[in-house]
């Protein structure tokens, strides 16, 4: 009997406790208003700004990020592009974009034939589970892209981050 009463008491208090915890977690995590986030459309626009509206062919660009991330604060990100990287045929720039951080841009990396390899490695912030896209500008003026979908369990917009 006693245990039954106890369990009803717990179930009574449980929902409010859950709501409180959910609210507290929400307040801590979502310091950025939803409207302040970039959208897939904004990312598409940012890519368009980078390419000048030229067509982007998918493939030949590898975005290497662990698919499941515990934290979005410092995400190891590697981009590789298929290119011989000689004076005639090389990657001029690699731009990285995301669709759910406050801004769609992550970085633009300018390479030269003296780079030897079309490779760049950095660490980025991810505010949510989302798609990360890399667009490469080739020396002949064409554009290629690659992308990856990643899951972030603790996004990079937590206070004090």
């Amino acid at each position: 009997m006693k245990t039954q009463i106890l369990s009803t008491q717990i179930s009574k208090t449980d929902p409010s406790r859950r709501t409180f915890l959910a609210g507290a977690a929400g307040a801590a995590v979502c310091v950025i208003a939803p409207s302040a986030r970039a959208t897939p459309e904004e990312m598409a626009q940012a890519i368009k700004d980078f390419t000048g509206g030229k067509p982007v062919r998918e493939g030949g660009v590898e975005v290497d990020i662990p698919v499941l991330l515990e934290s979005g604060h410092s995400v190891p990100t590697i981009v590789r592009v298929d290119s011989p990287m000689n004076a005639q045929n090389y990657v001029r720039a690699i731009a990285v974009f995301n669709e759910r951080n406050p801004q769609p841009n992550v970085g633009v990396f300018h390479l030269t034939p003296r780079s030897g390899r079309a490779f760049v490695s950095t660490r980025i912030r991810l505010g949510d589970s989302q798609k990360v896209v890399a667009v490469a500008q080739m020396s002949d003026g064409s554009f290629r892209s690659g992308s990856i979908d990643v899951i972030v369990t603790l996004p990079a917009c937590v206070e004090g981050a």
Binding site: N98, P102, R114, V120, T122, I124, R125, A156, A161
Partner: protein, 106 residues
């Protein structure tokens, strides 16, 4: 301005592709984060990184707030000749930090 870590091989063979690793101690304040008083902390990020090899810019980067604090950048270069590789980071306040590394190419 801050402490920088640079990893450049001291010696390389001519034509060898070497990997360079750089990291600068910097908060990369996004401008989206509120401080304890509720006001947004003003943005201060490293927005430009340039690597020159014997005076020629061989790699550069335009960075945005989505780059993590203490920006880490790694890239490759072809070891062409002995010389000095220079790294420079510029932040929103216009402060620039310059570091150099020597490489011996045989």
């Amino acid at each position: 301005m801050a402490r920088a870590l640079i990893n450049v091989p001291a010696k390389a063979k001519k034509g060898e592709i070497i990997e360079i690793k750089t990291m600068l101690s910097h908060p990369m304040e996004t401008g989206f984060r509120p401080a304890a008083d509720g006001k947004l902390v003003p943005r201060n990020i490293i927005k430009r990184f340039v690597c020159t090899y014997d005076g020629e810019a061989v790699f550069s980067a335009d960075l945005f707030p989505a780059i993590s604090a203490n920006p880490f950048l790694s890239f490759t270069l072809v070891a062409t000749n002995s010389g000095v590789i220079t790294f420079s980071w510029t932040d929103d306040n216009g402060q620039t930090q310059v570091q150099t590394a020597k490489i011996e190419v045989a």
